[in-house]
């Protein structure tokens, strides 16, 4: 009941974001969208994912998008023609994704592979094999160690990229132009 009405709200938000031309309103609506998504994750018992969605989607993304709006225009260009190629691409991709969900086990299914495959081994033997009392820690740090290493490398690369882009100092001008060094904020 709650999930259905939240999904309805999310659909309405997405359609309204498509119609609006005022980009400030679109940023606001995308914040609401992420908040609803976070509540759905939470109702489905994925509290950690919900945290991430709320902090990144509703919090930081909104702030970053507002920063972008401050540097660019806040009105969307109106395109009169309908672009059929991208529309077909979106529909096909969406259809493939929906088709992919048909094979997935139902929500809360006790016979799903994630419950029957390796979980019992983690629960029974991880204390002996890894030696860490917390099962989640041993799964993340040992059984899926390479996965975690890759994730860390990706996050590290992203942080370096951001630092390279925004952390660069302004080049000092030559002394003749130093008087005109006022702060020009966009």
């Amino acid at each position: 009941m709650i999930i259905i009405s939240l999904l309805f709200f999310m659909t309405a938000t997405a359609i309204s974001m498509l119609w609006l031309r005022d980009l400030f309103a679109v940023v606001m609506l995308s914040g609401i969208y992420s908040l609803f998504a976070a509540v759905i994750y939470m109702v489905m018992d994925a509290v950690d994912v919900a945290f991430t969605e709320a902090a990144v989607g509703a919090g930081i993304s909104t702030v970053l998008m507002l920063g972008t709006l401050a540097l660019t225009k806040s009105k969307e260009k109106v395109h009169k023609k309908i672009a059929y190629g991208p529309l077909a691409l979106v529909l096909i991709t969406g259809g493939i994704l929906v088709y992919g969900t048909l094979d997935m086990p139902h929500y809360g299914d006790a016979n799903a592979p994630i419950h029957s495959h390796v979980a019992s081994r983690y629960i029974e033997k991880s204390g002996l094999e890894v030696g860490v009392p917390n099962i989640v820690t041993s799964v993340l740090a040992s059984y899926r160690g390479y996965d975690t290493l890759g994730e860390t490398a990706v996050v590290f690369t992203a942080a370096i990229g951001v630092l390279v882009i925004i952390g660069r100092r302004k080049k000092k001008r030559k002394k003749t132009g130093a008087v005109n060094d006022g702060g020009d904020i966009a």
Binding site: M28, L29, V63
Partner: protein, 96 residues
């Protein structure tokens, strides 16, 4: 039963706030609608916690309230100053 009725009421209020966010002619209508939707989300999470007999969800609702607050501060600052950073004049690192 009582919590279910409360959740229903929160959902109805959320629909009204969403309508204001879609239709709202001015910027301030939208800001207020987004803030209201965030607050209603916090209430919905709390009510859902009691509805499913897991009152621990109250902590999560508190965190959502904090995130909502930061977002609203950023938005109002954007509207007031047309940007998120203050001009810092002759600082050599620019606006960061």
């Amino acid at each position: 039963m009582m919590f279910a009725a409360a959740a229903l009421g929160v959902l109805v209020a959320m629909a009204l706030a969403m309508f204001r966010a879609f239709a709202g002619p001015t910027v301030f209508d939208r800001i207020l609608a987004v803030n209201t939707a965030g607050t209603l989300t916090v209430v919905l999470i709390s009510v859902y916690g009691f509805l499913s007999e897991r009152p621990e969800f109250l902590d999560i609702a508190l965190l959502y309230a904090l995130i909502n607050f930061i977002g609203t501060v950023a938005v109002t600052k954007f509207v007031q100053f047309q940007g998120l950073g203050y001009p810092v004049g002759d600082h050599e690192d620019g606006d960061i």
